[in-house]
Symmetry: C2
Subunit: 173 residues, 2 copies
DNA sequence: ATCAAATAGTATGCAAGACATACGATTTTA
DNA sequence: TAAAATCGTATGTCTTGCATACTATTTGAT
């Protein structure tokens, strides 16, 4: 077999936050992480990472990142929006948006043309290929979400979304 | 300011009769994002990004990332653990861990020495400077978490953590 | 006991995202 | 009309994530 086999996202057993200093042994694969456990940021990062890996595997054939998908989706539902419109909606800065736009353009997923009313702006929209790609990806993502979220009930899922939204929306009003 | 003619906001899509409770608050410069709104992945990413920015600002003086802090914390509570031990606990691969270890070493936050029982391993532990740094950072992070999570009650916070953990723990073999 | 497989650390290289800074073209507004 | 704000753009840096591959060491199966 290949010496370097990765993709082993599943070797974690359930564990109680039992305080047991593991010391310099570490033959067990469970480490003590007491303080971290109470940080929402820690769990948020771990959960996002896990979900993102699942996401990436699901859309591997299309080579899309979460961010790119979000951008494409926003562009699809808001044809003619400018780069900053999309960037703001996704909380990313112009520079980061720029590199993504270039990438998406070079892959032929989006098109761009100068706005007639404001010549500073470039209106972005999906290319025909972008449209069909997005269409196919929708089904894949829906399935990925369903399977990844299977451990939660519909109600819990909705609750999770509500809690997450409260964390990043607001801070404005 | 920006009288900018909002490009068509609520353009209807063919699919999805839209019973979605989504556009409840979309007012002025809001872009339509119907489909995205139902994806946990989307909200997870947005929430994590928002929290991470707050985190980064909070520890700006110490120049630490979430991941680095988690690693340091794990090293602190599990002195003598090897690189892979830490890597596995944080779901990162050896190569990524390697670059982080090098960074942390060059900053003098951790120390390393060969294991006597298994000469392939290098035991990692905090340096005195790492200890004092971590000590000071703890307070800062606690405060950052408290203020960022202020929009949630204690119970909601606990619930959020529970839900997140269920998303990434399990998946055991 | 021996040889093959697994493990730990290491080195490279690449893609992406995030952020900072700066500049030109084009509005907006004061 | 001049100053300020916007938008797109270009650079460059840092961190993470991941693939590959190589060495040294330990383990395990025969």
């Amino acid at each position: 077999m290949a010496p370097d086999e990765k993709r082993s996202l599943g070797r974690r057993r359930d564990k109680q936050p039992a305080p047991s200093p593991v010391a310099a042994d570490s033959s067990e694969d469970e480490l003590e992480r007491s303080w971290l456990q109470q940080l929402v940021g820690y769990h948020l990062r771990m959960a996002h990472l896990a979900l993102y890996r699942d996401f990436a595997a699901a859309v591997a054939d299309y080579d899309l990142t979460q961010k790119q998908l979000a951008a494409l989706e926003l562009i699809a539902t808001n044809p003619g929006a400018s780069q900053v419109d999309i960037a703001q909606a996704l909380s990313m800065d112009r520079a980061t948006m720029m590199s993504m736009v270039k990438r998406l353009l070079s892959r032929g997923l989006i098109e761009r043309r100068a706005s007639k009313i404001d010549r500073r702006r470039h209106e972005i929209r999906l290319s025909p290929e972008g449209v069909s790609t997005l269409e196919r990806v929708h089904g894949i993502i829906d399935h990925h979400e369903d399977s990844f979220l299977a451990v939660l009930s519909g109600e819990e899922r909705a609750q999770l979304i509500t809690l997450l939204r409260r964390l990043y929306e607001r801070r404005s009003a």
